[in-house]
Symmetry: C2
Amino acid sequence: MSLPSSAEPGRAGERPPRRVALLGSTGSIGRQTVDVLAAHPDAFRVVALATGSNAGLLADQAARLRPAAVALGDGSALAGLDLPPDTQRIGGVDALETLATRDDVDIVIVATGGVVSLRPVLAALRAGKVVATANKETLVAGGHLVMPQARALAAGVASLRPGDPYASPLAWLRPIDSEHSAIWQCLVGEDMAGVAALILTASGGPFLDASPAEMAAVTPEQALRHPTWTMGAKITIDSATLANKGLEVIEAHWLYDVDYDAIEVVIHPQSVVHSAVRFVDGSLKAQLGTPDMRLPIQYALTYPDRRPSPAAPPDLIATGRLDFRAPDEDRFPALRIARDAGRRGPRASAALIAADEVAVARFLEGSLDFAGIPRLLEAAVDRFGADGDAPDVDALVALDADVRGVFATGAFGARS
Amino acid sequence: MSLPSSAEPGRAGERPPRRVALLGSTGSIGRQTVDVLAAHPDAFRVVALATGSNAGLLADQAARLRPAAVALGDGSALAGLDLPPDTQRIGGVDALETLATRDDVDIVIVATGGVVSLRPVLAALRAGKVVATANKETLVAGGHLVMPQARALAAGVASLRPGDPYASPLAWLRPIDSEHSAIWQCLVGEDMAGVAALILTASGGPFLDASPAEMAAVTPEQALRHPTWTMGAKITIDSATLANKGLEVIEAHWLYDVDYDAIEVVIHPQSVVHSAVRFVDGSLKAQLGTPDMRLPIQYALTYPDRRPSPAAPPDLIATGRLDFRAPDEDRFPALRIARDAGRRGPRASAALIAADEVAVARFLEGSLDFAGIPRLLEAAVDRFGADGDAPDVDALVALDADVRGVFATGAFGARS
């Protein structure tokens, strides 16, 4: 058996530059990924860029990085895009899969939203590409589809080169997320047989110490003030409800193949410890960092190597103190609801993540109160998460639409 | 090239039991090592035991573990030792080297004291054995002698099986020490090229917040009250002066081949974070644990695997809070003196560790005050640490005797 070019051995600076396709290049993660890629021109070559509708920024990125091809979701604007002369335009509904499976691509970075991102993820893995994903549906809804692919690629390497960094499924399906990057970094060089539990940390959000009455009256403005990370509105509200941590529990289950009983959540208001792993011998390893997404993005690109990055290291002495406490699942029911959805299976998890998009959008527009968010999540999981089969991508896309159809408008959770 | 049996590949439970020689079986580390070995009879077989003078306990251990051979430093008691019928008695000045180099030994655990322990350590490495050492002189005085041996063994494995757990020098010279085990665990699977700094944590000892005047009046009783670890008198006093942390800085320099500028000390009163590594990308990995030496002992035996151990895992929520601050090198000059001795070279470091034994003994017996300990250390380093050559074991043993001869008695540091 021969190995895909993406598993070429060698150390940083010794191997040829990794050829990268970046899907979702103009969003927050996409833009930070461009910064990381541009900082290491000896290590990476950007072969393809894709985005949905931000034609102006895509053209700027293409001028800077000179990719072989670009795709733009807004097909009408594609022809008019101002591009370098050698850059190809890719259109059509399969554009992301076309870019992700190009022969000259080693790593596909998935920074696009939604369950439809599962199509390029699966196509890339089938083509033997490394996938680094910031897309939460990849694992929450599609963990049962993507992880067998990643494990098969890892097993292929292990049969030829045991102990190789690419003999791990995490080398093939790489998380771009501070918590999961932390766990991954703690697991490097460790055997999963030695893992007792994964410990996801959560800042606790702005309502960590709020009373139930205060939480009932929370406004979008209050919920958008995250204490430690500056992020988009959706993820900030998810941090306030702890729904994001619930989704990370489901991601952890699939990514690391660990039972839900062995995935713990600890509130850590300073957000310095990004997450941790407890081992069977009583040892615990934690990864610490400043709140800078460029660090997990870069690690997902440079693994197994590390390179200097613009992310400042954490200063234990300046920080002085790290606090930990148990999460309150009564005030933050989304955590319990997500864990329950994960246990029920992929349909329930897919319903949960679709419902969360709907719920947050409705909270921000004022048609749902803060306490209505977990109520909507639970209703969606109950309605759509009953059967425990293994839906394919088409079924997941249909389920996503069904959840939105039922909960995006109508009577559910109208402000009381 | 063929590999030593000690580097036999395979996973826990799949490979034959590792055959162990335990030197120093009746001291604190030795007794805890016996507990760990006895807890995993499928993984370890004790082939040899040695101790200095505790004939009664040695006989008990031999009855329990049925080793092939034992040695007793007190030769007059050896013949009368009550042993299982098949257990051989080994006497003579070379007894430890004889046991450490037996054909049927894979791992040598060194829990004996003093610079003379360098002889069995070096003999074992030359014979291709794994050495797990709790002996501080191994690295503080003999780092320049032992590490080239460990690196040569690792290079031999790397040439045949790159990425193998035994392709690391740490697989061959394993630290039994909570701080160095922590750093080792954080480095597993990482390339040293990615390491920016090592961060040794220190509890700060009982005088963390004492004024200079209070410290001048410290009694042995006060100094023996360690806030977090229960240990022997010598190491407890070393924790109170921070001399132990200074010695660990020197050990870290040799063990991990890291410059002194990149070895930091952070005061962490709760002793939960055992130490940490900062990487060039701004990521920091820390190992956390409860204060139980059975954890680092077991890891040194089971590496690269982990096995259940009686050590309780740390509970972040119950602990609640972890504090960090900078060490005060004015009130704890031993840290600065040790770092300086390390930079000067092996003679200065060997003088330091010999002087520290003398200083602590004199403090405990009342012939030196607390502030006299660092003064004696500095005087010994100044007197014996001038030249920067690479002394062999004989020269180190002679230097050790010279330091003791000058400082153990006489006028230096007489109580003022």
